[in-house]
């Protein structure tokens, strides 16, 4: 299908971009790498009147580390993040997750900020942002505000971002030395969105897990910490079996059937992935 008619503008500054979003209200949407947005247009799933192409805003690029925080510009492309030495050194969880994000051609255009703003429940990066306690910096007509990733996600493709705000950068605390982490995902074909996956960080204390943070993708309508799983795993002396993990997962998330994949199978796969992630973390300790 062809996209419905829309207008296109490529502002030269952040202020101009936000001004356009304010002026046009609901009918304008930001365009970053276009790897999600253009598909929805071509399938006529959305019909914005104005695309505000933010790709000219150089201040939204770049990846650097300052003290205990890594700053990733919203327009940093997947390929930039995946090959960044800063990310590899300080955010190894994200490095590991990047291997699962889309295919090369898509990574060459798709952006870190676009992925976080898009809030696809099957995407890898929102789950990582939640687990790593990232802070999202939003710029709007009244200046900038900061939102914790855990508060940002509100459900299926829904966030607390206002229509006239842009995500400008993401601040992620450096993963402390010795922190255990793992990213696990199952996708039918490499580069596909996962059918289930999780990002995990934690410590091992007295043979058990502590400070365990787990967020899943593909399991519910958005990334949220899986508190019941974390509690079950932390409280337990020896490793849990898949059935116990699945039980906890059901408390954390609402699994539903999708064509070709039942909720029951999904929970089962998520439990296997959880066990594998925890085993790997234990092994790394």
């Amino acid at each position: 299908m062809k996209a419905p008619d829309f207008s296109y503008v490529r502002p030269a500054s952040l202020d101009e971009a936000i001004g356009l979003l304010v002026t046009h209200g609901e009918s304008a949407v930001p365009l970053a790498g276009g790897q999600s947005l253009l598909t929805t247009l071509n399938m006529r799933l959305s019909a914005p009147e104005l695309l505000v192409d933010i790709s000219g805003l150089d201040e939204l690029r770049g990846i650097d580390v300052d003290g205990g925080t890594v700053r990733i510009g919203a327009l940093a492309r997947h390929v930039d993040v995946a090959t960044s030495p800063v990310v590899a050194e300080h955010l190894p969880l994200i490095s590991e997750a990047m291997a699962h994000v889309a295919h090369v051609a898509i990574r060459n255009r798709g952006t870190f900020g676009g992925s976080l703003a898009n809030a696809d429940p099957a995407a890898e990066l929102p789950a990582c942002a939640v687990v790593l306690k990232a802070t999202l910096v939003l710029a709007g007509p009244d200046g900038q505000r900061e939102v914790a990733a855990g508060d940002f996600y509100q459900g299926l493709f829904e966030t607390t971002r206002q229509g006239d705000e842009l995500l400008v950068e993401v601040r992620v605390p450096v993963q402390p030395a010795g922190q255990l982490f793992a990213f696990e995902e199952l996708s039918r074909r490499s580069g596909d969105f996962g059918i289930a996956g999780l990002a995990a960080t934690g410590q091992l204390e007295d043979g058990g897990f502590a400070d365990l943070r787990l967020a899943y993708l593909g399991c519910d309508d958005g990334p949220r910490l899986a508190a019941a799983v974390a509690a079950a795993v932390s409280g337990q002396g020896g490793p849990l079996d898949d059935r116990q993990i699945a039980e906890a997962l059901r408390q954390d998330y609402e699994f539903s059937d999708v064509p070709g994949l039942s909720a029951a199978t999904k929970v089962r796969l998520a439990a296997v992935l959880t066990r594998r992630a925890l085993d790997r973390m234990r092994g790394a300790a």
Binding site: R44, L186, R189, P259, L269
Partner: protein, 805 residues
């Protein structure tokens, strides 16, 4: 004078000398297409051309009430809004029944729905506008008073007495039934030492060409003729249909197939929407372009392989197969496919079941039913994969039951060379074959014994690997006895014109089409070899019903087998004419002349006497120097069809090595081997890639591809994100080797190879995955083998063992 060539009537060295035949010549179009110089239907724009978008039925089964087009017609840029009823006034309906299959029924299929729709995606209203985007905007504004009807989606439900009936005049949904009863199956099963059985389900698939369907129809009211640029496999079939359905004399219908991005059978089927585009051009008197987008491709392209099969095999204590049985139930979609008869899948399944093996008693049945889904058509492999899957899974089970190695079981039961030719109990005729030779080569290539040892060792460590073996026959290049009696106007002969240009270069005009296979390169090699010139000196022209010889086009793995033979005949005739002319010019005996490296050579002295360019110059510009009665014939056309040959029988064996993750149900492909016998290989590069591409399509079928329908007939995964096509990262290395048993009925000896990879790969995956699951007491029955289906299979096995069964 023959230097080992099997055919003394051929000039020396053409087939087995150092000529272009047998060389790995790259595809002639590869560079051009990569350079962006391809010219597909979407690249062609005609003056005053309109763009068409269809409103398609959102329901699988519904009565069409009032249609309000007023809002759509009022959209600026829209020129016409045309309903199915208006199209029906100028265009006869299609009818998809085969006359030689008693009891085969269908209903007239209007090219656009008129009174009711029978599948989600059936075209209902056409919007013509200055751009496709405007046409789509307007199509959204059409209001139809739909009266939704209950739909039938699964073949298994279609014959139930309370199933909704698609075509009231038929009374029920049974399209066709065919029974086979050879020998005494009952007695053989009763007397068997061991009987094994398996049930199989195959989810429907769609072929997915890279370039979707499309055409530009340009009816000229001043001449009453129509020119159509069509992304199709057979311009001749399209010409014939347009002439018949639109009532335009055939010589006023010209169909041109420009570059076509993939076919796989999809584009040789007959699509109502395409005929409608031509009819609409006739109504509006302007060129009209329709390009299917990916979303409408999923609901309007053919679907295939929607089957439920049960099968049994009886063996004696020594491991000899004594009987087989097959019961096939196939969903055909909403109508019979005009000219291509969707019953082919079921017919091939039951006729080819067990064909490589020696057995005498056989009972089979195929029942074909209509359901509210897109039409089923011929797709790479057609019904051959079902036979391969069923016979190979049963062979594995029988071997396991007898504690025999599956390779040994197959070798023992293969038909021997001294049994050729034979007709299998299902009715498949096999002239030439090389089962055991292929198997020997395969087991060596894959190091079978080593893999078996490794499998056993890893099994002890909880790693579940499977080895698959699958033997198959590929019926290629169907001949006149196959289609003739069906009364379908399908031409199985092909023609080739070769023309010496004055400079000594050659143009070859073939009726064979090429959608990426590389057949044209192979044909150029045949011409070049026959005329003793480099391949680069041959230019191919094809894909135009007005300027090429009449023929079939591309389907059923026929391009080299038939078109290559026609090219050989034409080139040899041109060669003789060239030598005669050279003899006249040089006053030499033509019988003592040969063509080598662009020169006419005296065979006795080995000396070049005159160049081809000189022959061309004299032949075209200096006839005054020739004897008065000498006829110069430097353009020659020949055709080929073997009047009484049903098809050319190719065969092969594939092997696969897989690993099943029993926690996730994921299957990893560790290695794939294909040994194929497609007769004489004209271009090993093209043949290897045909096999590899076919294997990948077969792996897609076995592991990934499925059209998922809701109970009310809505396709639930009609996008490339949701319908999983196989991609490179998951594919194993595919080792391809060959055995060459030339086709006996032609001089070229080439058989087809287009479908071999797919047939064998589907069979070998069923064999391999079940082999991996066997020690766990599990088996898989439903394709594609999704993680969920693998886990379900393991759960069933566990439940069974817990219950003590």
């Amino acid at each position: 004078m023959s230097d080992g060539s099997s055919d003394p009537t051929l000039p020396a060295g053409i087939l087995d000398g150092d000529t272009a035949i047998g060389k790995r010549v790259p595809r002639e179009s590869a560079k051009r297409l990569v350079a962006g110089r391809g010219r597909y239907v979407g690249d062609i724009s005609l003056p005053r051309m309109l763009h068409l978008a269809f409103l398609r039925s959102p329901y699988a089964h519904a009565i069409i009430g009032d249609i309000d087009i007023s809002a759509a017609a009022a959209v600026p840029g829209v020129t016409h809004v045309i309903t199915g009823r208006q199209v029906a006034e100028v265009c006869a309906p299609l009818m998809g029944v085969a006359h030689h299959r008693p009891g085969h029924r269908s209903a007239p299929q209007h090219v656009m729905a008129v009174e009711k729709t029978c599948w989600q995606g059936e075209p209902v209203v056409a919007v013509l506008a200055e751009s496709r985007a405007i046409a789509e905007d307007a199509a959204e504004l059409i209001e139809v008073d739909w009266q939704d009807l209950p739909a039938v989606v699964d073949a298994a439900d279609a014959l139930s007495p309370d199933a909704p009936v698609l075509h009231a005049e038929m009374g029920d949904n049974l399209a066709f039934q065919f029974d086979v009863d050879t020998g005494d199956a009952d007695a053989a099963f009763a007397a068997a030492h061991t009987v094994v059985e398996h049930d199989f389900r195959f989810d429907s698939q769609t072929p997915l060409t890279l370039e979707p369907r499309g055409l530009i129809a340009d009816f000229d009211p001043s001449t009453g003729g129509i020119t159509v640029h069509h992304s199709g496999q057979s311009p001749f079939q399209m010409q014939d249909i347009l002439s018949e359905n639109l009532g335009i004399p055939e010589h006023r219908v010209r169909v041109i197939c420009p570059d076509v991005g993939g076919g796989f059978g999809l584009k040789v089927n007959v699509y109502g929407d395409e005929i409608a585009v031509a009819a609409i051009s006739k109504i509006v008197g302007r060129p009209v372009r329709f390009l299917a987008d990916r979303l409408e491709s999923f609901v309007s392209d053919i679907h295939a392989r929607d089957h439920v099969v049960t099968a049994r095999m009886a063996v004696d204590a020594d491991g000899a197969i004594t009987a087989m049985e097959m019961d096939d139930l196939a969903a055909l979609g909403a109508y019979g496919m005009a000219r291509r008869f969707s019953v082919a899948e079921g017919m091939m399944a039951v006729t080819m079941m067990g064909a490589p093996y020696r057995f005498e008693n056989y009972r089979a049945r195929t029942r074909n039913v209509y359901v509210n889904k897109p039409l089923v058509g011929v797709y790479r492999g057609v019904g051959m994969p079902f036979a391969c899957v069923a016979q190979e899974v049963l062979a594995d089970k029988a071997a396991a039951a007898l504690d025999m190695d599956p390779v040994a079981f197959r070798r023992q039961n293969y038909r021997r060379l001294d049994e050729l030719p034979y007709t299998s109990p299902g009715g498949a005729k096999v002239d030439t074959a090389s089962f055991a030779a292929c198997l020997d080569k395969l087991t060596a290539a894959m190091d079978y014994d080593h893999l078996r040892a490794e499998q056993a060792e890893l099994c002890g460590q909880g790693v579940w690997r499977g080895i698959g073996i699958a033997t198959f026959i590929e019926q290629t290049a169907y001949g006149p006895p196959y289609y003739g009696p069906s009364l379908a106007r399908i031409s199985v002969q092909d023609g080739c014109t070769v023309k010496l240009e004055p400079s000594g270069k050659v143009r070859c005009i073939t009726s064979i089409t090429d959608q990426g296979q590389g057949t044209w390169t192979g044909i150029a090699q045949v011409v070049a070899s026959s005329l003793g010139i480099p391949v680069d000196d041959v230019e191919i022209h094809a894909g135009d019903s007005a300027t090429t010889p009449f023929g079939g086009g591309a389907w059923a793995s026929r391009g080299m087998a038939i078109g290559g033979e026609a090219a050989l005949k034409a080139s040899l005739a041109l060669r003789a004419n060239i030598l005669a002319l050279a003899g006249a010019i040089t006053q030499a005996d033509p019988a003592k002349l040969a063509l080598r490296a662009g020169e006419v050579v005296n065979m006795e002295t080995g000396m070049a006497s005159i160049s081809l360019a000189e022959v061309g110059r004299v032949g075209y510009f200096r006839q005054d120097t020739l004897p008065g009665d000498f006829d110069v014939e430097l353009t020659v056309t020949h055709n080929h069809a073997h009047n009484h040959q049903l098809y050319y029988t190719a065969n092969g064996v594939q092997g696969a090595y897989v690993e099943v993750d029993i926690e996730t149900g994921f299957i990893r492909l560790l290695g794939h081997w294909a040994v194929d016998d497609c007769g004489r290989i004209i271009n090993p590069l093209m043949v290897d890639e045909q096999v590899r591409g076919g294997v990948v399509q077969g792996l897609g079928a076995a592991l990934f591809e499925q059209c998922l329908y809701s109970e009310d007939g809505q396709l639930q995964n009609g996008t490339m994100a949701d319908y999983l096509a196989p991609m490179a990262a998951e594919m194993p290395d595919i080792v391809v080797e060959h055995v060459e048993t030339p086709e006996a009925s032609t001089r070229l000896g080439a058989k087809g190879v287009g479908e071999a990879g797919t047939i064998g790969a589907i069979g070998v995956m069923w064999s391999a995955v079940n082999d991996a699951l066997r020690p766990l007491g599990a088996s898989i029955h439903h394709q594609p083998f999704t993680p969920e289906r693998v886990l379900d299979a393991l759960d069933r096995a566990n439940a069974g063992s817990e219950n003590g069964t």
